[in-house]
């Protein structure tokens, strides 16, 4: 891991009128590091993720990103064109519902190739080869390249969404409940895949989940949120094995044992 953080978050708050989305969140994320944000529904996890990924503007606070040219840029001060360019090159965003992140009416190959075409790739053969390669890496048979995601199962759609995001070799990926709504065996394979990819590509990731097992499997570090604030953070194993806050203890002890 490099000594320079990829993302610097200081005192980020988001208010919806008088209601609190999240407040005074600060942390740093290093290259290759996976951070899990856990907490119950309504604790502000998704609001925080949206603020980090520029989908929402924070009410106060600063999010800075370490650009490829070595400069830190305040995301809120970037132009929309720059933000959108960052979004489709250096970043990825994996939605809980694959239909939100995929184009359901164009083929799997075009879904993966879209980002390449968006950054100026104009060679059909190369785009198709890259798409085929990525489908293989996310364990989708290459002969499904011309099928639409509508014809895919939930797990395949999620894997396709991951391939679509990773094709431009991003450095930072945001994931919002990536395994939500999948059955456990499919979940396990997806987690395996994500863990492998994150490791091989040296990706940094911010993963929002309410599933502590997912957090334990994927993340190095985790933050526990309650009522919009971070109440505990630390190494994943430390937080899960030795929770300090009463709420975290409750959360950990609420896991169903089979």
């Amino acid at each position: 891991m490099s000594a320079v953080p990829l993302l610097k978050v200081s005192d980020v708050s988001k208010f919806y009128g008088s209601r609190i989305g999240c407040r005074n969140v600060s942390f740093e994320l290093y290259p290759g590091e996976v951070l899990a944000i856990v907490g119950e529904s309504g604790s502000g996890k998704t609001t925080l993720l949206s603020c980090l990924s520029t989908r929402l503007m924070p009410t106060s606070g600063v999010v800075e990103y370490h650009m490829r040219d070595g400069q830190y840029r305040d995301l809120a001060r970037m132009s929309e064109a720059e933000r959108r360019f960052l979004m489709r090159t250096d970043w990825g965003f994996v939605h809980q519902n694959p239909a939100d992140g995929l184009r359901m009416t164009v083929s799997a190959g075009a879904n993966v190739g879209e980002r390449l075409m968006a950054v100026g790739d104009r060679h059909y053969g190369n785009i198709r080869a890259a798409a085929g390669d990525w489908l293989r890496r996310v364990e989708i048979e290459e002969d499904r390249i011309d099928d639409q995601p509508r014809a895919f199962s939930g797990g395949m759609r999620q894997r396709l969404q991951i391939a679509r995001n990773l094709v431009t070799s991003p450095r930072l990926v945001f994931m919002d409940e990536p395994t939500g709504g999948l059955d456990v065996s499919v979940q396990a394979r997806l987690l395996d895949l994500v863990r492998g990819l994150v490791h091989d590509l040296g990706l940094a990731a911010v993963i929002v989940t309410h599933d502590l097992a997912v957090a334990r499997l994927l993340s190095h570090r985790m933050m526990v949120m309650k009522d919009g604030a971070v109440i505990e953070q630390g190494l994943t194993d430390r937080v899960l094995d030795d929770p300090r806050e009463p709420y975290t203890q409750l959360l950990v002890s609420s896991i169903l044992q089979v």
Binding site: E80, S107, A110, A118, V119, R122, Y124, G125
Partner: protein, 297 residues
């Protein structure tokens, strides 16, 4: 007194024309950019050329000579009606000869004869937004134009190749204007796309229902989108026009009977008639007509 006396010259009132001319000027200043305008109700249904008619009405002067074509033909319903309309409300000279016209309103074709300086081509446009079928939100497509995010346009072409092995879009083929805006050339066959490039004539596009005007000024670069390994190419016909023998023109297929008989003729009727008047004859030209042509020679 004639009822038409109540109408202003060329049907629209002067304030409306002024508004439309402003939109046209803006469109010319930003080639390929869709300028919103306050489209008026016209005495014809949407989809029949309300946008084109408003543009024509706004630029028409008493000394203009108007030609109206529909799929290349001067004698189809839409063309005849619009021509008659302007004869009535503006009392302008009309013609079917491409070279004589100063304004040509067209539905989905560009005349075969090369247009020159001083001529204006007015297109009727049903859906001005080239990104519409890929991105239904207008707010989003306008943003994509503003930020020059045109990757999605190539996704459509990619899909074509993946399904058909080649780019199967044959009409409304997207173009990039002056290296900036991606534009829908209206549903003209892609055969006509190269004619838009560096055209000497001014090209104006009016979409009445969608309330947009856009333009390609003379001598403007118009490039059809493609892939490096699947370059843009136009339709080719394996036979000449059956009536005038012309090659390298856009042909219409005409079914002759229910036994599979058919012929291919120029879609540009003026071009075809002009060639026949100059003694060119195709394989299926009626013998009587051929004889009279030979006699004339």
């Amino acid at each position: 007194m004639n009822d038409l006396a109540n109408y202003n010259f060329a049907y629209l009132d002067e304030q409306t024309k002024r508004m439309i001319r402003r939109a046209i000027l803006k469109a010319i200043a930003i080639p390929g950019y869709q300028v919103p305008f306050a489209s008026r109700e016209m005495p014809m249904p949407y989809g029949w050329g309300t946008g084109g008619v408003q543009v024509t009405a706004s630029i028409l002067g008493p000394s203009d000579v108007l030609k109206v074509i529909d799929q290349g033909a001067d004698d189809t319903t839409n063309a005849v009606s619009i021509r008659a309309f302007f004869q009535k409300v503006a009392n302008v000279a009309v013609t079917t000869r491409t070279a004589d016209a100063t304004i040509i309103q067209t539905r989905h074709r560009i005349p075969e004869e090369k247009l020159g300086e001083g001529q204006t081509l007015v297109y009727q446009v049903p859906i001005p937004e080239p990104l519409r079928f890929l991105e239904p939100r207008e707010t989003e497509t306008r943003k994509m134009h503003a930020l020059e995010e045109y990757g999605l346009m190539h996704v459509k072409l990619y899909e074509d190749i993946a399904r058909n092995g080649h780019i199967a879009t044959t009409y409304a083929y997207p173009v990039k204007v002056e290296g900036r805006y991606v534009m829908d050339p209206s549903p003209t066959p892609k055969f006509d796309n190269p004619k838009m490039h560096m055209s000497e004539a001014l090209q104006l596009f009016g979409a009445g229902r969608e309330k947009r005007i856009y333009a390609v000024p003379p001598y403007t670069e118009v490039v059809s989108l493609d892939f490096e390994d699947h370059p843009f190419e136009v339709q080719k016909f394996d036979r000449p026009c059956a009536l005038c023998g012309a090659e390298n023109v856009y042909l219409d297929e005409v079914v002759l009977d229910d036994k599979g008989g058919r012929m291919f003729v120029c879609s540009d009727t003026d071009h075809c008639e002009d060639r026949r008047a100059h003694g060119h004859a195709g394989a299926m030209l009626a013998p009587a007509a051929k004889e009279s042509q030979e006699a004339a020679e």
